[in-house]
């Protein structure tokens, strides 16, 4: 694990208007790694993803992908450098059908999944490909939101609470999908409140509190640190 990080975040500060929401966040993700951000609601996990993607524009610090600066890029260039974003609210478009939603994000590099592969991974989406995107169930919408960035050849996917509000059987399905993606060598930055889910896929954890990174530890230490985590997360 001595290789240079694929994605490197150093001293990231960010603001929503006047309010200073990220305070010097540091984060490294190596190629093929799955890293999970833990923290209470409002700790800055979603904000970190939005700041990395460039959706949150008022930022300072360093964000580098393979050593290339992302901070100065216009929003659409960030995805083109290989980041795929799966937002917390899923962002399925009501005026597009399932297949149009799937095809919407432009290809950013070679090596993305083909539409056939995606439909074999998510058979429900194939069945419902002509339905309006927002007519899908919550779980199907989440799968569509994930499937959408797999087609583009993005090297890192930023997944914001993919299991939120979903039935256990769907959570299980999404976990299987993430494991399959890891096997394919996909790099994943995951925001997740569900420990059991995160434990199954995460190589490393970062713990956030009040817009700061307060700790980081490898995935196998999760159980040993449960008491500490309960204290910080208040769960």
């Amino acid at each position: 694990m001595s290789s240079a990080p694929l994605l490197e975040v150093r001293g990231l500060n960010a603001w929503y208007g006047e309010s200073h929401v990220l305070h010097g966040v540091d984060l490294d993700i190596r190629e093929g790694e799955t890293v999970t951000l833990l923290g209470r609601n409002g700790a800055g996990k979603t904000t970190t993803l939005r700041a990395i993607m460039g959706i949150l524009r008022r930022r300072e610090g360093v964000i580098r992908l393979r050593g290339k600066d992302l901070l100065g890029l216009p929003l659409h260039k960030v995805a083109q450098s290989g980041l795929g974003y799966v937002p917390e609210e899923r962002g399925i478009f009501a005026s597009l059908n399932v297949s149009e939603n799937l095809m919407l994000p432009p290809t950013v590099s070679e090596g993305g999944m083909s539409v056939e592969e995606i439909y074999s991974l998510f058979p429900n989406l194939h069945e419902r490909r002509s339905s309006q995107g927002t007519k899908l169930s919550g779980g199907e919408q989440q799968m569509l939101a994930i499937a959408r960035v797999l087609r583009t050849g993005a090297r890192i996917i930023l997944l914001d609470e993919p299991t939120e509000g979903l039935a256990p059987v769907i959570v299980q399905r999404i976990g299987d999908v993430l494991v399959a993606l890891k096997k394919r060598g996909m790099t994943i930055l995951l925001v997740e409140q569900n420990f059991r889910f995160a434990k199954k896929v995460a190589d490393r954890f970062y713990l956030m509190e009040d817009g700061r990174m307060v700790n980081s530890f490898p995935g196998h230490e999760l159980d040993a640190r449960m008491d500490e985590l309960h204290e910080v997360l208040g769960v």
């Binding site: 993607m53 460039g54 959706i55 216009p74 929003l75 659409h76 260039k77 960030v78 995805a79 083109q80 974003y85 937002p87 962002g91 478009f93 009501a94 005026s95 597009l96 149009e100 095809m103 919407l104 994000p105 432009p106 950013v108 959408r148 960035v149 583009t152």
Partner: protein, 295 residues
Amino acid sequence: MSTIFGIPAPALYGQILIGLINGSFYAMLSLGLAVIFGLLRVINFAHGAQYMLGAFAAYLLLSWLGIGYWPALILAPLIVGAIAVVIEKTMLSRLYGVDPLYGLLLTFGLALILEGAFRYWFGAAGQPYSPPPQLTGAVNLGFMFMPIYRGWVVIASLVICLGTWLLIEKTRLGAYLRAATENATLVQAFGVNVPLLLTLTYGLGAALAGLAGVLAAPIYQVSPLMGSNLIIIVFAVVVVGGMGSILGAIVTGYVLGVLEGLTKVFYPEASSIVIFVIMAIVLLVRPAGLFGREE
């Protein structure tokens, strides 16, 4: 002579045809307004001036360069679209993210400047523009005589509206446009160059107005105020159809055009206000418009 509801049939057919022709222009213009409003959230008050520019472009291409109707049908919308692209890049794009009222004020100001400039150069009187020789004359439909050029306008506008609708509903570019109308930030976060999409959309909307202007030149005279006379009605059409609704703009354009024509037959006194009365009723009963989605 045969009558329908006590009205001589030829008068009725004649007014329906006039209604269809007016409706063709309402549809083409409200379509462009709807496309622009949907994505840019700008109420494009310059739309009437862009329609006028299209007609003047055709007129000037002919009188200065001897370029006739058919090439003008392509060139004039390109010219108007190119001017709109410059306006969007240099001015309108600075107003995204602030109160939409600013976009309205800017485009309203631009309309006044354009119309004022053309009045200064060409006077308020209209300039004649002849239809191309292939489309002159009239054809006997059995129940009425129809000037060929007017039939052409109705057909051309149907093709233009259908083509635009297909572009938006069935192509990849259209999918970007629809998605960006819902959530532009997310579409851009996926790697779509949304600022460019906004520029092209404004250019497309204005080019549609310019195209309508060329089609209108042989029917109405080419005059600096031809757009401002029409644009208020077109805004009413957009409100009735539902702001931002593509299909709503098209269908409402034709339907209100014909309704206005019929009113001229049955109760002429009301013909100039019927569209606004319908608008008021629609606003009371369905504020989002007939085809609009409640937000």
